[in-house]
């Protein structure tokens, strides 16, 4: 903790000019080195995506693809049904993210700011289900979904992902940091609870909503077991399911596994780059008296 706290005043307050430039340079160098370390596996992934299948895992490791096989990217696009998978995944990710963020933050407001009997017990039930491993109840859940005629439809994945406890828990924690006085003032002004939620809470919670949205999006995008169990028709497959079954068809095509992994990561990177700008100091706190 001590080492981490040291650079804080320097960069937070660029008004101390003497030390700041060299510190800043050092900081950047450290960040760049750490980034290189974190990105190394991804570098290897990209390199492998440019090799032939039987050259990916060799002894010793080859760090540079001597003869890049760009055709892997064309191959995976031509041989597989990538456009369908991407379309399904985008549709699912968008729907699930919207529902999770909306219903989650809506319910969280009820849990955080309205007192009613049974509230805490109900909340504990939410948290409790987080503590149960999915693989132990996935069969009863599957049978249930099947009774509702949802299996082998995209709705099954929406139903599976959209109402989880995570969003509720997260937003509730966030709402609790908003002072009650602010809401009481609004109530006295005659605003209804729904109005408070929409006009005060939602705008205030932009960073939390953004992180919940990003996390839900990534989870839905990368989910493999859910689609594996629920989506059987090839025209419903998501990108993860499609890629994995494409790969398992072409026994041991490791270069293509990496090609697919690179392709499935890229859209998320773009979205993340766009979404992370909501984490800027000040957005949430404007208009709030601590």
């Amino acid at each position: 903790m001590t080492t981490l706290s040291r650079p804080i005043p320097v960069v937070l307050r660029p008004t101390t000019p003497r030390r700041s430039r060299s510190w800043r340079l050092l900081g950047y160098l450290a960040l760049a080195a750490a980034s290189a370390g974190v990105l190394l596996p991804f570098y290897w992934m990209v390199m492998s995506s440019l090799k032939t299948n039987n050259d990916v895992f060799t002894l010793p490791v080859e760090w540079i693809a001597a003869d890049p096989v760009w055709s892997n990217y064309a191959d995976i696009w031509a041989k597989s049904d990538m456009t369908t998978w991407l379309g399904n995944t985008v549709l699912l990710s968008a729907t699930v993210t919207f529902l999770q963020v909306f219903t989650g933050s809506f319910a969280a407001y009820g849990f955080a700011k309205i007192r009613f009997p049974g509230r805490d017990a109900l909340f504990l039930a939410y948290i409790g289900t987080l503590a149960v491993p999915w693989q132990s109840y996935m069969v009863p859940q599957f049978v249930m979904m099947s009774k509702l005629q949802l299996t082998d439809t995209l709705w099954s994945i929406v139903a599976l992902q959209a109402f989880g406890a995570l969003g509720v828990f997260m937003m509730k924690q966030f709402y609790e940091t908003v002072p009650d006085e602010l809401l009481d003032a609004a109530r006295i002004d005659g605003m209804s609870e729904y109005g408070i939620y929409r006009r005060i809470m939602l705008p205030l919670s932009a960073p939390a909503l953004a992180s919940l949205a990003l996390i839900t999006l990534v989870t839905t995008w990368n989910d493999y077991l859910g689609p594996l169990l629920y989506l059987r028709s090839p025209d419903l497959w998501t990108i993860q399911l499609g890629l994995k079954s494409f790969i398992s068809q072409y026994n041991a095509e490791h270069a293509l596994i990496m090609t697919g992994s690179v392709l499935s990561v890229l859209p998320i990177v773009v979205i993340f780059l766009a979404g992370q700008r909501y984490f800027v100091e000040g957005i949430a706190t404007t208009g709030l008296k601590g």
């Binding site: 032939t52 299948n53 039987n54 895992f57 060799t58 002894l59 490791v61 049974g118 996935m138 069969v139 599957f142 049978v143 099947s146 009774k147 509702l148 299996t151 594996l228 169990l229 059987r232 090839p234 994995k244 079954s245 398992s248 068809q249 072409y250 026994n251 041991a252 490791h254």
Partner: protein, 423 residues
């Protein structure tokens, strides 16, 4: 709160109560659903469906695609929800007990009674005097070897009578001589699966039985495997697992001169050589090395069979039985052999399969393909799946050098006794 809960419960009960509608028609064309996996690259299901349609124009077979690696997980969920296809594959024997004991297989004894005697792999599917599935493929483990590398090293080709001792000596000799001639290839490659040691041990050792809970029979096989590893005649287990080495690349890219593997690899190797994914070289198959020389080489592998979903209508079950009989018969055997798949009826396939472009057709290869006593890898019993899991831990512990052989065997025996057999 209470009232809304009651309403939801009522709603749930209502949906739970509604069953799936049965099919009323009892004449005219009929459609059967059949489970398969990786349909684009596993042509056997389509081959069988098309071949069957030739003789039964009224019955259409519709293929349902499953994931190759998670087939049993998906099938378990489908069966539990009553959504499984009419005919489904028993991918290996490990899960057969689950389906049979869970009453998810229809009795097909009448189909079995009419099968020819040359159909292999039927016995494991017989429980309590009834037959619950019909095999259509029956592979067996053999020794693949790279003729070109053997010649380069000047080592004699396997003659069909090799023991494990002779095989290890050859692997070590190959490694030394290949290195001397400037080749990177090692003598042999035993893949990371537990079956490469345990499958042979169980099949070849007299009196060895899985449910006995006595695993002393594994010792000589692990001594051989570790010996090869220490001598550098084979990639170490740790390097093979961490680098996700594939057996297809090890043999196909000439990294190893020999490789014990199942006959399913014939089709893969042929197609990889044709496409250029594997090098072009002359290869052959020899009978699996033996513990002691025997007239009929003893080896192992699980058959692959079809079972019928008992929840299908009576009429569909009758049609499905026709399909099972066809799939195990000589016509299907020839059709399967034509695409490189080893059918249950081995004898009627050898001329087709070894005549494929690029396949070996020498005496030893023919002998290896036709003459063998193939024991199941997973003898059917309620203890098989948990015992194989115990033995899998033993395999990784021994091969990674985490535990000496004797200690690992003792621990596995203790676990088998207390966690599995005493239930």
């Amino acid at each position: 709160m209470k009232r809304s809960l009651a309403a939801v419960t009522a709603f749930l009960l209502a949906v739970t109560g509604c069953g799936s509608g049965g099919d009323a028609e009892d004449s005219g064309p009929i459609t059967l659903t059949l489970a398969g996996w990786s349909l684009a690259t596993t042509p056997e299901f389509k081959t069988l469906a098309d071949g069957f349609r030739g003789t039964h124009p009224d019955i259409t077979i519709e293929l349902k695609e499953y994931d190759a690696n998670n087939y049993d997980t998906q099938m378990t969920a489908d069966l539990a929800a009553g959504k499984a296809p009419d005919v489904y594959v028993q991918k290996n024997l490990k899960n057969f007990y689950t389906y049979q004991h869970g009453k998810q297989l229809a009795d097909v004894s009448d189909v079995a009674a009419k099968l020819g005697s040359s159909v292999g792999g039927l016995a494991p599917y017989q429980v309590d005097g009834k037959t619950w599935a019909i095999p259509y493929r029956s592979d067996s483990w053999v020794l693949f070897y790279n003729k070109a590398l053997f010649d380069k090293a000047g080592v004699e080709h396997p003659d069909g009578t090799w023991t494990w001792e002779r095989y290890s000596a050859a692997a070590k000799e190959l490694t030394t001589k290949l290195k001397a001639s400037g080749s990177k290839a090692l003598g042999t490659y035993q893949h990371t699966w537990q079956s490469t040691a345990q499958g042979f041990a169980l099949a070849q050792t007299a009196g060895a039985e899985l449910p006995s809970g006595n695993f002393g029979y594994l010792k000589p096989y692990y001594e051989t495997a570790l010996g090869l590893q220490t001598a550098g005649a084979q990639v170490s287990f740790g390097d093979a697992t961490t680098n996700s080495l594939t057996y297809q690349a090890q043999f196909g890219k000439q990294q190893a001169a020999m490789m014990p593997m199942g006959t399913w690899y014939i089709a893969t190797l042929l197609s990889q050589q044709a496409k250029g994914d594997a090098d072009s070289f002359a290869w052959g198959i020899a009978p699996a090395p033996q513990l002691t020389t025997s007239a009929t080489p003893v080896t192992f592998a699980d058959p692959t069979g079809f079972g019928i979903n008992p929840k299908s209508s009576e009429r569909k079950i009758a049609a499905a039985k026709d399909f099972l009989a066809y799939a195990a018969g000589p016509d299907a055997a020839k059709a399967l052999a034509g695409i490189g798949v080893t059918p249950a009826d081995n004898a009627s396939a050898v001329d087709t399969i070894l005549a494929l472009e690029g396949a070996p057709n020498d005496e030893v290869s023919r002998l290896a393909y036709t003459k063998h006593d193939t024991k199941p890898e997973n003898p059917v019993s309620e203890y098989t799946a948990p015992l194989q899991n115990v033995l899998k831990d033993l395999h990784t512990a021994i091969m990674s050098g985490s535990k000496p052989i004797d200690a690992a065997i003792t621990e596995a025996q203790d676990r088998a006794e207390s966690e599995v057999l005493s239930k």
